[in-house]
Symmetry: none
Subunit: 240 residues, 2 copies
């Protein structure tokens, strides 16, 4: 059985909602919460009462400064958000997400954005997929704890059923390993004036990140790609 997913709240605003999310998680057996730059710091006195007894989840919550650090050890990251036109990240439904998590050899995570604004493009770009709950197209109004509980529920449905089948031949690389490749490529491209014009730098970097995240390469494959980038960045050898 794969490990249960980590629930990552990105820049959550109200302590109360962090508590509600913890309660939602524990109902379905999820215990590992991570917080990225919670607005009002951590711990937050409003979280405990709203957790209705899920205090253990809050006590063990880990705090990170950036989303990239929070997902660094995860090989499968689902961004809970609506479909994004600005990013070519695959979009899956909750059931497909749950299946992928159950088959994942490494750590998996679900990312949730701040209460009102949701995840930013830079956060979503760190995900391997977007997960969207199919809701009423004329009335979509899920709050943070509800989004958490629906995806936690969907995960738990399969947790009883899933046998350890369909095993990946190699575990996927961690996001940290992938960051290494992206950083290396970034430096080499920058030295060659690839990021041009300046107004397009952000978009170009986001596109490259998506292209390199999409394959779900294994550690070995990421290492091989790092070797390729290193070799390409060298000057050609004289023939003969």
């Amino acid at each position: 059985m794969a490990q249960p997913p980590v629930i990552i709240l990105v820049r959550p605003q109200l302590g109360q909602n962090i508590g509600k999310a913890a309660r939602a998680m524990l109902n379905f057996g999820l215990t590992e919460m991570r917080l990225v730059a919670p607005r009002d710091g951590w711990p937050n006195p409003d979280a405990g009462p709203a957790a209705s007894g899920a205090d253990a989840v809050l006590e063990q919550a880990q705090v990170f400064a950036t989303t990239a650090e929070a997902v660094a050890d995860c090989s499968l990251v689902f961004a809970s958000t609506v479909r994004r036109r600005d990013l070519v990240v695959p979009v899956v439904g909750p059931e497909e997400m749950a299946g992928q998590i159950h088959r994942c050899e490494g750590r998996s995570a679900m990312l949730f954005g701040p209460e009102r604004s949701g995840l930013e493009t830079a956060d979503v770009a760190l995900a391997t997929s977007i997960v969207t709950v199919p809701i009423n197209p004329e009335f979509g109004s899920l709050n943070l704890a509800q989004a958490v509980i629906l995806l936690a529920y969907e995960w738990s449905r399969g947790a009883q059923l899933s046998q350890p089948t369909a095993k990946e031949i190699e575990p996927p690389a961690t996001m940290g390993e992938l960051e290494g490749l992206i950083g290396q490529l970034d430096v080499a491209l920058d030295e060659r004036g690839y990021y041009h014009p300046p107004s397009r730098i952000e978009a170009t970097k986001a596109t490259l990140r998506t292209i390199l995240t999409k394959p779900k390469w294994s550690s070995r494959e990421v290492q091989a790609m790092r070797g390729v980038v290193r070799a390409l960045a060298e000057p050609p050898r004289p023939k003969g």
Copy 2:
């Protein structure tokens, strides 16, 4: 397609929770709410603000004096509660419930009890089945709106009100386009003595091909990668 189920709140206490239940319902396309003897009467000024825009559900809500009257026109009634030792009512999970509702020719309903105490024996006895969400046996703490949203979601999964998901936004590149990238990379790597020792050339090329085939990149993404390879193969520009 069978009619969507009616959501019946039995003796709900806080107006706020009635509003939250309406919001939960409308997310998954359920619009028919019935209230049995709401503690603080009806309409309740606290309901609207909590509904976050699902006012139409509240405006059309019907009030009944007893649970028996509220379910009178329904042929399938699911009582949302834990298993009851005092009653011989069949117990089903959310998925089985949704299937029965989708196959039901007549009206169907889900019954939810008051916030703290839950449904009484007399209410459950009016149901054709008990529906129980399988939750963490060591921490079961679903509030009213969460119970509503999970069962509404489960109903909607089968209702196909959902948009197509898991669909790739862009079609994958042709094999011809991919060969172009592989060939370009091959030449650049060869110039830099990457394929070494000679005995490993075949295996190394096969590995690279696998790495580049795995992502199922789109045409646009393959073009972007060709630009990356071209840029990397150029000498670095002098700084400044």
